[in-house]
């Protein structure tokens, strides 16, 4: 796992870039004044908050990260229809469950990403992480096969995240 190296004057280049873009989007304008102000904020805010940030593993495989994002978008679409169906169906056919998923990922950022993905995709909400960050507790709206669910989470979401962060 590689940790981020810090440049003294631009400690968080990616975040600076995002901040700049978001500033322009929020103002819905590319006037020179806004660009100047946005660039200033994108430079100063990271300088102020960088000391508070814990070092996080770096994204190693950008292409895969983009592919992962698209896949999650698609899964969100599927999840919406699935949950809508379950909501419309009768309650007695629901089979809710708590499941403990063993984690192979390390680091807070990758685990947070995995937990968020799980919450947004079909029928599962992440509820808690064990203190040693080895187990993720998940609540499923409708469980058919516990091993299959764990297998799906591990192969579909955890494996690519592992590759992206190289941990």
């Amino acid at each position: 796992m590689k940790l981020q190296k810090r440049n003294r004057w631009i400690p968080m280049p990616a975040q600076s870039f995002i901040l700049f873009i978001v500033w322009l989007l929020l103002n819905n304008s590319v006037a020179p004044g806004q660009i100047l102000l946005g660039a200033f904020l994108a430079w100063v805010i990271p300088l102020l908050v960088a000391p508070m940030q814990a070092s996080q593993p770096r994204v190693l495989r950008h292409g895969l990260a983009v592919r992962y994002t698209l896949m999650v978008m698609y899964d969100i679409l599927v999840a919406n229809f699935e949950v809508a169906m379950r909501v419309l169906g009768p309650n007695r056919r629901l089979n809710p469950a708590f499941v403990a998923v063993p984690l192979d990922l390390e680091g807070s950022l990758p685990i947070t990403l995995l937990a968020s993905t799980i919450s947004l995709t079909p029928g599962t909400v992440s509820a808690e992480v064990s203190e040693n960050q080895r187990w993720l507790y998940v609540h499923a709206l409708h469980l058919e096969d516990e091993t299959a669910l764990i297998e799906q989470i591990k192969s579909r979401y955890e494996a690519p995240l592992k590759e992206i962060f190289g941990c």
Partner: protein
């Protein structure tokens, strides 16, 4: 604005509206706290996306302006929805909120509450 555009915008608004409605209906209808959590976190994402896309098309057609606020709202929603769902679930575990009887693996809630490893496998705890 042409009728076609109006139709497309209406379709998006209708679709978005129905998903948000479904999410709220799920909140009312599902049996316990944990299952209720699922409806608003998921159905609402697509519902909001529908409404926002409708809004983007409308402003683009009506005022010839590209509105990108909507994309930001979608982004913020995607970031905040899972975090708030997670916090709600965590709080519910902490307060020992009851889940319905037939919830599978109810025994895990105690371990989850204490943030411990599940009791069935001590071997992975290191």
């Amino acid at each position: 604005m042409s009728t076609t555009v109006e139709l497309i915008v209406s379709a998006f608004l209708l679709m978005g509206g129905s998903f948000v409605l479904l999410g709220s209906f799920g909140l009312l209808k599902l049996p316990d706290f944990f299952t209720r959590l699922h409806a608003p976190t998921k159905a609402t994402t697509l519902g909001m996306a529908g409404l926002l896309i409708g809004s983007m098309i409308y402003f683009f057609a009506a005022e010839q302006r590209l509105m990108v606020h909507e994309l930001l709202i979608t982004l913020f929603l995607l970031i905040t929805a899972p975090v708030s769902a997670h916090m709600l679930a965590k709080t519910a575990l902490h307060h020992r909120v009851k889940s319905i009887k037939r919830t599978h693996g109810r025994g895990l809630t105690e371990a989850a509450r204490e943030r411990q490893v599940p009791s069935f496998s001590e071997d992975r705890s290191q």
